[in-house]
């Protein structure tokens, strides 16, 4: 008797499975025909890193404070800088990112106080030669030309409650750097031995 019940049960469940697949046969496909159709990447999408420039002057926002270089866990960012004799401010002379080792974590964007570096929704950056993955400053600036962004306001005091829609990191990063300034610049020193980089000339107080 149990054999009969088992068999009928089994056949019922086999048919149940067939019903599920045939039900899906008449549903619309959910996949995308990739090169013809493309996803719209969400606003926060973390793809290729770009350097942002000022919308009015067209100059890079980067002030070569080396914060992103220090924040990078894989040391993909290399910055060389020079002091502009006129303005007495640092300017980057070379800014390279090795996208081959970049892990797209977004810590550089979080570390930046000047809206100079951003991870964008661009993702089709495949090339044949690995060395072409090392992006230089001009190329990064070119990539960042059409990227919309909000320039961070110079708010020193943090706001208490954030709206869900606002980009919370903006104010936080600001507030964080505010905290840090209060602490003094000595706290940046320990980052130094991650990479052999000049560590004492971080121009935090410049802003």
């Amino acid at each position: 008797m149990s054999l009969v019940r088992q068999t009928t049960n089994g056949i019922y469940n086999l048919i149940l499975g067939l019903a599920v697949t045939v039900k899906h046969l008449f549903k619309h496909a959910i996949t995308l025909q990739y090169p013809k159709e493309r996803w719209t990447m969400p606003e926060r999408s973390r793809g290729t890193v770009v350097l942002l420039s000022d919308t009015e002057t067209g100059k890079l926002n980067c002030t070569a404070c080396l914060m992103c270089e220090k924040a990078c866990p894989v040391a993909a960012i290399t910055i060389e800088r020079e002091k502009n004799p006129e303005t007495k401010k640092f300017e980057p002379t070379s800014f390279t990112i090795d996208m081959g080792i970049c892990c797209y974590c977004g810590l550089c964007e979080k570390a930046c106080n000047f809206s100079a570096i951003k991870l964008t929704g661009k993702y089709e950056m495949s090339i044949y030669d690995k060395s072409e993955l090392i992006y230089d400053m001009d190329f990064l600036q070119k990539l960042g030309r059409d990227v919309k962004y909000e320039k961070r306001k110079r708010v020193v005091k943090k706001t208490a409650v954030k709206k869900a829609t606002a980009k919370p990191k903006t104010t936080e990063a600001r507030a964080e750097s505010g905290d840090k300034k209060a602490e003094g610049t000595s706290s940046t020193k320990d980052d130094g031995d991650v990479k052999e980089k000049p560590k004492n000339e971080t121009e935090e107080g410049k802003e």
Partner: protein, 162 residues
């Protein structure tokens, strides 16, 4: 038993074997002599009051600069009583020396792989281990121990060529 009660019980029960004890980060912690490592583990597993049937974590810390040796750390826990215990021991060693200690894999079979990993990465010899092959590293690894402090076999950060 909560951490304090457990610690109290264990320190009273194994008074003569425990060097140091305390609560570190909410977990009852005891330190024993390397010679007692295996015997106290067996006791703790068999003790009906503790019933440490399982190993949560088992590894080593290179304390050669600070304490002059490697510290073995094993965190035990008991499904039955839901309590944890960290047991430590310091293996004195200097330089490139490989200290020796008795294996725990007879007590908890899971310690097998933990010890194989610790052995190859720290250079601690587990005496009596049933299968002392390399686990993570190549079979023909050159004999350096990568998890030791100051190991500089390879640079961890590669810079792009300029």
């Amino acid at each position: 038993m909560d951490s304090e009660g457990l610690l109290k019980y264990i320190t009273e029960e194994y008074k003569d074997k425990i060097i140091d004890s305390g609560i570190v980060g909410g977990v009852a912690t005891i330190e024993v002599k390397p010679g007692d490592w295996e015997s106290i583990a067996e006791y703790l597993k068999g003790d009906m009051e503790t019933r440490f049937l399982s190993v949560s974590n088992y590894g080593a810390v290179d304390y050669r600069e600070k304490l002059g040796g490697y510290q073995l750390v094993i965190t035990l826990f008991s499904y039955e009583f839901n309590h944890k215990l960290t047991m430590k021991t310091l293996l004195p060693a200097e330089g490139e020396e490989c200290p020796e200690i008795k294996t725990l894999s007879a007590v908890w079979p899971v310690a097998d792989w933990f010890e194989r990993e610790t052995a190859e990465l720290f250079g601690i010899v587990f005496v009596g281990h049933p299968d002392p092959r390399h686990l993570m590293l190549d079979e023909d690894w050159d004999g350096e121990y990568p998890m030791r402090r100051g190991w500089s076999g390879r640079d961890f950060i590669t810079k792009p060529d300029k």
